[in-house]
Symmetry: C2
Subunit: 431 residues, 2 copies
């Protein structure tokens, strides 16, 4: 690390959206403490279910930890059909990866994956190697006006939109006007809709740090004003819908139309690897298959990702999907009966335990890890300073007993997170 | 597609680095023609060597095509050790992918891959899911001044730097001053070095559209002025060096030092999947392992990519590497004896056949495809208008006879590309 930046005449004139130097300097001590506590940069090996063997040494020397960090919400990331799909695809081609742009040459199996997903979600699906790249490809096209009838939109970002979206603000601002509004501030968004003929809103479906977008209200703005919606539903896919179309897609009509794009993950709930865009029209599909930068200048998801995706599609089209969705809902409820969070009672699998001071959050997450549970300690710059906490990702694959034991661990250390009996009984009566 | 953008008051004030709408509108007819000619968006299945079965239908109905598009320059992308490595890694973990940030939890095998590559290349290697994301993570850190002693550098881009670098100009410009200079204009770069105490230069090692950076001259500027170098050597890795450290790395001293970062691909010459950064110091490594955005907010290369990478490392550390490097050199020479290009005589595997008009380039590439060879037709916006051509990627795995037949096909249609006898004999005497 370097010493703090000298103040220079460039600073004030150029700083606008980002200040990397400031973030690095202001968060260094937190990162040092989190690493010293052994809470970041962990290595391990899958064992079974949500357990992993911690470390890189001989396997009999490693301790087993129950993981509440990774986002495989339906527990599909080690499902035999996902693993078999990955291996079969590699074997069918005697290859893992073709090093060329998707605009040129593609594995036949990626056509099958895109067509299967398109059918499942009633959209036009394009696959990318990650959601971050799917978003990168979309942002300049959104800015260009090509998605909004040739009129460059005012692009409004939710302040909490994932960094894989917010990163691109300066790129979008190079082509059109960019605004940032408070989290889920529908009134502010409506004011832009009233004033401008073309407005696009960029948000997450399910927020990685808890909560969701108000899709119903956004759809009302779309119907009244023609608002264009770009929703990153990386954390919402698979959890809802008959074939796992996800939090966002399941709240739009059967025909997605020409004013909504949904990004989603093929990892996380879906259980494979890679990202997708859900598009509504043939024109949009042609535009992205030519001009999306990662589509034209980076690479496709590799064959293992494609094969795993095809394996997961089979699960998504079977009764197992709703069984797993139900198991997840039950496990979220188990957690909510014990531990109070801002997310309590919503149907998403992300729970944030508020702690406050960074030092306390780190100490508590360290004790929880020593007790055999790996959680994510969250701190600046991911959340505001003094608002540190612990993120718990619940999955369909967790043993109920492990969730109960995690709750015990949390409540011993954060007693004011104890769920109130009223809420607990209200939840019980819903079940 | 939408109609041409209305002129708006936003346009002039905001346009600076990018103009997506213009690019889309101005290149539409070219894309239409290339797709109509069946030269883009191809699908196929690996058969053997550089051949693939074209299409997605029943395998006996597909024609076989020799591929000169993909960048597997050493022919490793279907090497049995690469394929076996991918499958073994998946089997060892009963998983393909863990959906979480690298700052949190990592497969043990990625530690092995990074440590093996670090040892091979005498650097500190960080792996990413693609080179595009490796670059995305680096650009804000370069802008921040954290890599240049706390002083924000003037960041100078080569005009031909890959779009995975150039894309980020507005992001970099949000934090510091950005300049773009003519391709390989060392004099212009030196003028910036004379005027400013901190300058960073962003370029490719081997350019995807032909040619290279003058690494020797860049190193001289580095020694004289302390210039920071960021070199994307995606196309140069594996082709040079005893263990495949590549075009750029092989021209730097054993100790890389604190003023050079090299990005490279684990696809392309390396034959696996993913991207890496080569760093020179522990401080840089700590910085990237905390603050690189894809490292902290996207995902690792999946286990198949990691396993394939480990398989390829074994090849890179065996005599097979230099054998394949030699076979590639011989095949480039075979091509150069017949067909004249701007790249003739250099030791890189990318050759650009200049044609000029887009319509001619498309027609000729179409005829070559009908003859059984798939090449990349290049046109605006990848190259300037009226400078269309055909890109040929030669690999160690091509049959010499197939290269000869491709040359025949090209010269029948582009007779002025016939290599001059003098050059041909000079090349012959070198061999």
């Amino acid at each position: 690390m370097q010493q703090r930046s000298e103040s220079s005449s460039l600073d004030r004139s150029t700083r606008h959206f980002r200040n990397t130097d400031y973030v690095v300097n202001e968060s260094r001590t937190y990162f040092d403490a989190v690493h010293a506590a052994g809470l970041m940069a962990l290595y391990g090996r899958s064992t079974s279910g949500r357990a992993f063997a911690l470390g890189t040494g001989p396997s009999d020397s490693r301790s087993e930890v129950i993981d509440f960090v990774r986002c495989s919400y339906l527990g599909l990331d080690n499902h035999p059909m996902v693993v078999a799909g990955a291996i079969e695809a590699i074997q069918a081609h005697h290859s893992l990866h073709w090093s060329c742009a998707r605009t040129r040459l593609n594995f036949d199996l990626i056509a099958e994956l895109e067509s299967t997903l398109s059918d499942m979600f009633s959209v036009r699906v394009l696959a990318f190697s990650t959601v971050m790249l799917a978003n990168l490809g979309a942002m300049p096209l959104l800015a260009s006006g090509q998605l909004t009838g040739g009129r460059k939109p005012v692009v409004v970002f939710d302040r909490s939109a994932h960094i894989s979206l917010a990163y691109h603000k300066p790129v979008v601002a190079d082509e059109t006007r960019v605004e940032t509004i408070a989290h889920n501030d529908i009134d502010a968004l409506e004011r832009f809709c009233r004033k401008h003929s073309a407005v696009a809103y960029v948000c997450d479906g399910v927020y990685s740090m808890g909560g969701t977008s108000p899709i119903k209200e956004l759809r009302q703005l779309q119907e009244h004003y023609g608002l264009f919606l770009y929703v990153d539903d990386a954390h919402g896919i698979s959890l809802f819908g008959r074939e796992g179309e996800g939090f966002a897609r399941s709240q739009f009509p059967q025909v997605l139309g020409d004013r909504t794009i949904i990004a989603a993950s093929l990892g996380k709930g879906f259980g494979a690897s890679g990202g997708i865009l859900m598009l509504g029209t043939a024109d949009q599909e042609a535009l992205f298959r030519r001009y999306s930068i990662p589509y034209a200048f980076s690479v496709a998801p590799n064959l293992a990702a494609v094969g795993a995706g095809l394996g997961s599609c089979k699960i998504h089209r079977s009764v197992e999907l709703s069984e797993r969705q139900g198991r997840l809902a039950k496990r979220i409820e188990v957690f909510d009966r014990r531990v109070a969070t801002a997310e309590q009672g919503n149907s998403l699998p992300i729970r944030m335990i508020s702690i406050g001071s960074e030092a306390n959050a780190i100490a508590i997450a360290g004790e929880i890890l020593n007790a055999g549970f790996y959680t994510s300690v969250t701190f600046f710059p991911t959340v505001a300073r003094g608002k540190a906490g612990i993120r718990v990702c619940i999955t369909a694959d967790h043993e109920v007993g492990d969730i109960e034991r995690l709750c015990d661990c949390i409540l011993e250390r954060v007693p004011n997170a104890t769920a109130k009996p009223r809420m607990a009984s209200a939840l019980a009566s819903d079940s």
